[in-house]
């Protein structure tokens, strides 16, 4: 305790009153490039995440087009098989860790403080770190393309022993994975601390918007599974360079052990990508149905149940490794159980729309497409949960069709829906509705032309991850590739719509969508919101 004299106070008073306010108090954003490097503002960091995710989406999408160009017709045309496998691996890693996850973290950064009445994220400097790790990690991953032996070509699962037989890429790929993991963990911790400790007075947990709830559960999943993945890839590294034999059968290890580790992480990872989508859709549908969300608390419990169940079903990815019958039965039943809370959610979305005064702006169109097409992806997942059936589907294009239905018209469509929904709030300008609808229809039609035929390819026995195939699969592959190119180019419309809204256009009102302020605090803020969001905590009803 310091006791100062009156004269000392005078000096001290001046210092405090006119001197060092930190940047969060009275100043707007810094100017120039360095604003983005050093920013600790949640909206700036959200924007950085979203822009990075969009760039990664285009890079990963370009890789998918390389794959689909090669598969347009039988025979080898454009790339060699090793490069083809590098493309499949990098496409997956970039889309999962570079596009979908960072995009949802961008949404979280932008929206969570605005939705819970907090002035910023709880740990703003850590927030800056968790973003800036990402670009460096991806440069490191991309650099493996130019190394001896090229990039990893063992699939996104990085299964041993194949991945251990590659070139110089392994330590770089693993370091990338560690960096991405660190970034995700820091982001998840920030979200948990923010939501639990910085809610506005009166904002109880059961008053949290569904988007915030889904992110809290996602953050719990991330924190729980990331150490398992970090441990697994580190053991790959020690097997390769330090003479251990965790996964080396010749040294007494077990490659299947890696599969257990990977899928203990990998299955919840799927839900890490899909739960925030549920949150976005649960936010959009009530707005455009002009009704409150049907069954709010059941949605919260269903999301938590899905999160819990995601931990106990991992081995349904491994039915073909030779599992005891009891194990197959357990994982079959446990996996099928996930359909129950997921069904609750779909039912609630449909019930929210039932007899609603619906309008069909672009976010709502994407939300409806999400509900229909994600449900289709869910049903094919249900088919594969049955272990005897899965023996037939395993490693065929049926699997490719299934998870792409979940992740593209699932997670990616939710991202589009969310972007169109909040873009006027973010930029202060309405987006071009005509171009938005054009983007929607082109995407929705082409995504089905792209992935629906792959179900038939899989059922007919076409294996996944191959650059060449028998002539019998030619028509469906050609159709799929045409769909891929239309879908790919349709995304350029999306990029243009976003750029156009950032550059100007019709001014957005604060509420933007009719009655939206009944569905979220963010709509009571100006469009665009002030640089420092909630200098005054909002009143929670």
């Amino acid at each position: 305790m310091t006791e100062a004299t009156h004269e000392e106070h005078a000096i001290h008073d001046e210092h405090i009153a006119h001197g060092h306010h930190d940047e969060h108090d009275h100043h707007g954003p810094a100017k120039g490039f360095m604003r983005w490097v050093f920013t600790t503002n949640h909206k700036d960091i959200g924007t950085l995440y979203l822009v990075t995710a969009l760039i990664m989406f285009m890079v990963g999408g370009a890789m998918a087009l390389v794959i689909r160009a090669e598969l347009f017709e039988p025979g080898m045309q454009y790339v060699d098989p090793n490069f083809f496998n590098q493309m499949t691996t990098l496409h997956a890693l970039i889309m999962v860790f570079g596009a979908v996850m960072p995009a949802f973290v961008g949404f979280a950064n932008w929206m969570i403080p605005m939705m819970i009445g907090a002035p910023d994220m709880a740990l703003p400097r850590m927030n800056n770190w968790s973003f800036w790790i990402l670009p460096f990690a991806f440069v490191m991953l991309a650099s493996t393309l130019f190394m001896d032996g090229g990039a990893p070509a063992a699939g996104w699962t990085l299964y041993p022993p194949l991945v251990l037989q590659g070139g110089a890429h392994l330590p770089f790929a693993i370091f990338t994975v560690h960096l991405l993991g660190m970034s995700s963990i820091m982001g998840a911790i920030n979200i948990i601390v923010t939501v639990f400790n910085m809610r506005a007075p009166g904002m109880t947990l059961m008053k949290l918007p569904l988007f915030v709830w889904t992110w809290v559960i996602t953050a719990f999943l991330l924190i729980t599974v990331m150490p398992v993945f970090a441990g697994a890839v580190t053991m790959l590294l020690t097997d390769k360079f330090f003479g251990t034999s965790f996964f080396n059968a010749a040294g007494g290890g077990d490659p299947v052990l890696y599969q257990h580790l990977f899928w203990f992480f990998g299955h919840p990872e799927v839900y890490i990508m899909i739960l925030p989508s549920f949150g976005v859709i649960s936010t959009i549908i009530p707005t455009f149905a002009r009704k409150p969300l049907f069954g709010y608390s059941s949605m919260v419990y269903a999301t938590a149940s899905i999160g819990f169940l995601s931990f106990i079903v991992w081995a349904h990815h491994q039915y073909t490794v030779g599992m005891p019958l009891a194990g197959e039965l357990y994982f079959t039943y446990a996996t099928m159980l996930i359909a129950v809370p997921t069904g609750v959610k779909v039912f609630n979305w449909v019930a929210t729309m039932w007899k609603g005064a619906m309008t069909f702006e672009t976010p709502m169109l994407f939300a409806i497409a999400f509900v229909v097409l994600f449900t289709m992806g869910g049903f094919t997942g249900l088919m594969m949960s049955i272990s005897p059936a899965d023996l037939q589907y395993h490693d065929t294009y049926f699997i490719v069709a299934h998870f792409h239905y979940v992740l593209v018209p699932g997670a990616v469509f939710a991202l589009f829906a969310g972007t169109y929904y909040w873009l006027p709030k973010w930029t202060g300008h309405m987006y071009d509705e005509k171009l938005g609808k054009l983007h929607f229809w082109l995407s929705t039609v082409s995504v089905n032309v792209l992935f629906f035929p792959q179900h038939f390819l899989g059922l007919a026995g076409m294996p996944r991850r191959i650059p060449d195939y028998a002539v019998q699969f030619a028509e469906f592959n050609a159709m799929s590739s045409v769909g891929a190119f239309i879908f790919g180019f349709a995304q350029l419309i999306f990029v243009w719509v976003v750029i156009k809204a950032i550059r100007g256009g019709e001014k957005a009102t604060d509420e933007v969508w009719e009655g939206a302020s009944e569905h979220g605090l963010e709509w009571t803020l100006p469009s665009p919101p002030p640089y420092h969001t909630w200098t005054t905590a909002p009143d929670i009803k």
């Binding site: 009153a17 639990f196 150490p227 697994a232 580790l261």
Partner: protein, 159 residues
């Protein structure tokens, strides 16, 4: 948040200002304990089957989580205590205890509420003396700052 009480013996007033925190220490301990249990269970189970590399990663992650919670708590544990007596006004500010203490003669002290420097920015509540100001209640919400301004003004004018 603002808590104020009057000393029945001296008639002086004590006002305690604290930022909003929606999590109590007990709840935070419960949350961290839950995470510790889950992470230790998963790490130990994998260590038991030979994958002991998972355990240190899980431990390190829990430590980071606990550190982040403690940082957040530190930010929300700051307190400002204003004690108004017949002759003096004392402002104490700190986290674990009073780290800065200011004592002013009540007769010379005023209070001001300055409007925001720019739209959407907070107002500034200051104790002022001889043209010099010391800001208080930076972590309060706008309505609380206004209420505190009225309360302090009334209290100082009554002296």
């Amino acid at each position: 948040m603002i808590e104020s009480e009057r000393d029945p013996q001296t008639g002086g007033k004590r006002i305690v200002l604290k930022p909003n925190a929606s999590l109590t220490r007990w709840q935070a301990r419960l949350l961290l304990g839950g995470f510790a249990l889950v992470l230790a269970s998963i790490g130990s189970a994998f260590a038991f089957i030979g994958c002991w590399f998972v355990l240190p990663f899980a431990g390190a992650e829990w430590l980071v989580l606990a550190y982040c919670f403690s940082l957040a708590f530190r930010q929300s544990a700051v307190r400002e205590v204003i004690t108004v007596t017949d002759a003096d006004v004392m402002l104490e500010r700190g986290i674990r205890g009073p780290e800065q203490t200011y004592r002013f003669r009540r007769a010379w002290l005023g209070v001001s509420l300055d409007g925001p420097a720019a739209a959407g920015h907070p107002s500034r509540l200051c104790l002022k003396r001889h043209g010099r100001k010391i800001e208080i209640g930076r972590f309060l919400v706008e309505s609380e700052r206004e209420a505190l301004y009225r309360e302090l003004k009334k209290e100082l004018m009554n002296g």
